[in-house]
């Protein structure tokens, strides 16, 4: 089955096919951008993927893209393509909140390197996307501006922390988006919304201008509807950046050229520790079917073991909060952001009041956990031990990748859960990231793609790859998409959609 490309609904097109239509002048970048702004107006009142739609800027960028297309010079596959950005990426002159009250009025003086690179490629930004506050969460319910709703079932979460980035792509509000992944924040929402989400190898993409959560784990990556579109976005954000000393000076291959459709002889490892009790049977079934499909395409499967998997989640919940407690010390009410100095008795009182008022409950919890893990007397028992475990997890992957090219698993143990179902139980929420966290600790890359459905809800399949081998996991996901149609299916938002010409949707808890 292929997507019906109705000309009046260009938001259904893939980036790859749209790039051709733009060059053939079948549609202009302005028309394409306007179609997405109309789609946002129609459905985002129900989905709430966007915190801010920058329509005027988008249309101006589209006009510039059309001029570039008319000249026919300096074109890239992203020229004229409407995208959107997780609100953790700073954008010069455009309010950037990271989903926090702390940064409600923060207007960055510069743009993130990835934002500049996409702009240089001629891409258009439609606006900024909702997220869990400071990227801490797995449901987007920790946003200070209200949750995002899963387009497949508006009563369910879209996953998180990049829930807005995932939902926008799933609902046809943007052709691709950027998110960030510290413990699964790209892959898990991709799985829950029937999209492709790529966590890049640590160092593959510059973090300059990414508001920091846990600096040794954070990575930026794309959301799209196809593996090919993901490769096109990755191509333009990857590479060394002098402004980020942790970005790697490793050459960037032609990712789209690696999507040959041929995975004959590809060795895929099945880690027994990722197929354990606790995962929903409907999720396991989809992953097993995906394995069978990949087998018919010529992939070879071997059983492998990643013996220290069970220590991944606890090690992460020491390391990530520890780094967060240090990174978020900058929010002191002195330099930028919220400040309650007026009513404070002295400087310390100003810190205490400002940080109480500015951070939501989950951020406070993680700052507390991290401060504790780093405090005198507990450092060896918690932080140092967690970093030793991190070495063990890295060694697990090194040993596994000596036997296989990629590793397959479920992305998330469950399908999308109901809004509110886990907000009172922090650890139950943390379990959403059981299968995604080890890749962050080891620094390797991973992609989640559409494996199928369980009870009408999307199920993601995760492929983990060797460091800097994004091309191979994308090749396998692309090969799978050539023989399946799950990635072409759309959520039914007809009931939620406002008719054309309706007044601008009011955002629950959101703001413009």
């Amino acid at each position: 089955m292929t997507t019906p490309t109705m000309t009046n609904e260009p938001w259904r097109w893939t980036i790859a096919e749209t790039a051709e239509k733009l060059r053939a002048k079948e549609i202009s970048a302005v028309e394409l951008t306007q179609a997405h702004l109309d789609r946002i107006r129609a459905v985002d009142g129900a989905v709430h993927a966007f915190l801010r739609v920058t329509a005027d800027e988008a249309l101006a960028e589209a006009k510039a893209a059309d001029e570039r297309l008319a000249r026919g010079q300096d074109l890239t596959p992203l020229t004229g393509i409407p995208l959107a950005l997780k609100d953790v990426l700073v954008t010069e002159g455009i309010t950037t909140t990271a989903g926090s009250r702390f940064l409600e009025h923060f207007v960055p003086p510069y743009s993130a390197t990835v934002v500049k690179r996409l702009r240089a490629a001629g891409a258009i930004s439609l606006g900024k996307l909702n997220m869990d506050e400071f990227a801490m969460g797995s449901s987007t319910e920790n946003s200070a501006y209200g949750p995002t709703h899963n387009p497949w079932d508006l009563d369910r979460v879209p996953g998180g922390s990049s829930g807005g980035s995932a939902a926008a792509v799933a609902a046809g509000e943007a052709m691709g988006t950027l998110g960030s992944d510290t413990g699964g924040s790209i892959r898990q929402p991709a799985a829950l919304t029937n999209t492709v989400g790529l966590k890049t190898t640590y160092g593959r993409v510059s973090r300059y201008g990414l508001i920091a959560f846990a600096s040794s784990l954070d990575q930026i990556g794309p959301f799209t509807r196809t593996a090919r579109d993901c490769a096109l976005l990755l191509q333009h954000i990857a590479g060394y950046d002098p402004n980020d000393s942790t970005s790697a000076d490793v050459s960037v291959p032609d990712y789209a050229a690696q999507l040959t459709g041929d995975i004959k002889g590809l060795k895929i490892g099945i880690p027994k520790e990722y197929f354990v009790e606790g995962t929903e049977p409907g999720v396991v079934k989809v992953v097993e079917e995906a394995i069978a499909t990949l087998k018919t395409l010529g992939a070879e499967f071997i059983d492998i073991s990643l013996p220290h998997t069970k220590y991944g989640l606890p090690a992460y919940y020491i390391i990530a909060p520890a780094e967060a407690s240090a990174n978020l010390a900058r929010y002191d009410g002195v330099k930028y952001g919220l400040s309650l100095r007026a009513e404070a008795a002295d400087l310390e009182d100003a810190y205490m009041r400002t940080r109480q008022a500015g951070f939501g409950p989950e951020v406070r919890r993680r700052i507390m956990l991290g401060t504790y893990a780093l405090s005198s007397g507990y450092y060896d028992a918690y932080y140092k031990r967690a970093e030793q475990v991190r070495t063990l997890i890295r060694r697990d992957f090194d040993a596994a990748f000596a036997q296989c090219d990629v590793i397959i698993s479920p992305t998330s143990p469950t399908v999308a859960f109901k809004l509110g179902a886990r907000v009172d139980d922090p650890y139950a929420m943390y379990l959403s990231d059981l299968f995604t966290i080890p890749a962050n600790l080891a620094g390797i890359c991973g992609v989640s793609f559409q494996g199928g459905f369980s009870e009408g809800l999307p199920v993601g399949v995760q492929l983990l790859g060797k460091p800097f081998d994004e091309g191979t996991i994308l090749r396998a996901a692309d090969a799978f998409q050539r023989v399946t149609d799950y990635h072409t299916r759309w959520p039914n938002l007809a009931a939620a959609a406002k008719p054309k010409g309706a007044t601008k949707a009011k955002k629950a808890g959101g703001k413009k």
Partner: protein, 95 residues
Amino acid sequence: MSLSRADVEHIALLARMRLSEDELNRMTEQLAGILEHIAVLQEADVSDVPPSASTLPPIDHFRPDIPAPSLPVDALLANAPEREDSYLRVKAVLE
């Protein structure tokens, strides 16, 4: 390792973050719960295992020592809650 309410108050002070009475109680309970799950780390055999702070090979990047303009002071201070000339203004640290 158990966690008392007094411990949580101390951590909040270290983090320079005031917590309400209600939140102190809730935080004590929730942090204790999370630490219980994390305790499994103590079972891992980490003897002779070096810690990894990063997954990158430790390579220093060098760039040519060429002066380049920084962001303008006014752009950087545009978000400051309170400024005086080119400075951030804070409450007096020493009386």
